[in-house]
Amino acid sequence: MALRYEAGVRHRRVVRWLAMGAAVLCWQGAASVLAASSLDLEDRVREIASELRCVVCQNLSVADSPSDLAKEMRNLVREQVQQGKSREEVQAYFVSRYGEYVLLSPPKRGFNLLVWGLPFLAVVAGGGLVYLVTRRWTEQTPSHGPAVDPAYSERVRRELKERERV
């Protein structure tokens, strides 16, 4: 009877420890999941905000600006991400309010393609120009030396010979 009682106590104690261990594990798991998801959220907010122009600054993104309006815009981005909105949907909201000006990189379509294409075009055109100019330079340089007065070259040869003899 006493033995069975003791075994029961031990059994209960083990169960209690197991339950406590499980609770700690659960709590830690939940905490890390929560931390990870809030980190994820902040990363998403930063990613989206870094592509939005702070409208009261000179060339700063909403992610980098310390201004009050940028802070409120970041809060709005966070709110919309929490509502499950995609990057494009959040961008579309800000574009509908501030126009494409609010995007730090102009969308690659229409007239904007000029902005994206011109630098490459300029590099290609510049390379072509350098090629043409250097080719002309090398063509103009004669492969054999310029015509020399035969009397002069004869004199050089003679003087060199004299020097060798000395």
């Binding site: 815009m73 709005l76 309010r97 501030y98």
Partner: protein, 174 residues
């Protein structure tokens, strides 16, 4: 050979045109995509406790002004004009609404008292309404017609001439 002599002047024409265009535009002026579109439906809680809903004002032309007590001197310059416009045209159905942005309540109330504003004014916690209207500075003023469409947007202090022309056009509109 003659075309080569023309090459440099011809190549500089588009560059000069681009610069001429660039230097004539104000880099700080952001064209609003909201003009000629329906005004966002916003709800505000006024300083006096009343509720302001833009949707509830449909049928009335609205002058919606964004201001702040720290916005000196532009907001101080146009404040008397806002109050005068409200007093002059309210009987004809015009609504003037002020939205105070990024401000301290005490300073805002002092601003309202100083200029004797009798039209409804409300703070904008979280700048939600400002962002909804694409506001990027103060003062900015939106002229909204009876159908709730934004007719035009004015950046900077509204001059009496602009206010007169805009309000008369709003009141004439059906």
């Amino acid at each position: 050979m003659s075309w080569r002599r023309l090459l440099i002047p011809l190549a500089s024409v588009p560059v000069i045109l681009l610069l001429a265009y660039g230097f004539r535009t104000d880099p700080k002026a952001i064209p609003s995509p909201l003009v000629h579109k329906a005004a966002p439906d916003v709800r505000l809680k006024a300083f006096d406790g009343g509720e302001i809903s833009l949707a509830g004002l449909k049928g009335k032309p609205v002058v919606l002004n964004f201001w702040a007590s720290w916005c000196y001197p532009a907001c101080y310059e146009e404040a008397p004009l806002l109050e005068a416009t409200w007093k002059r045209f309210k009987d004809q159905g015009l609504m003037v609404v002020g939205v105070d942005i990024q401000d301290k309540e005490a300073n805002a109330l002092e601003f309202i008292r100083r200029f004797g504003f009798t039209f409804p004014n409300a703070p904008d916690p979280g700048s939600k309404v400002s962002i909804d209207f694409g506001v990027y500075g103060v003062p900015e003023t939106f002229f909204i017609d009876r159908q709730g469409r934004i007719v035009s947007k004015h950046v900077g202090a509204v001059t009496p001439a602009v206010m007169e022309a805009q309000v008369q056009a709003l009141l004439k509109g059906q």
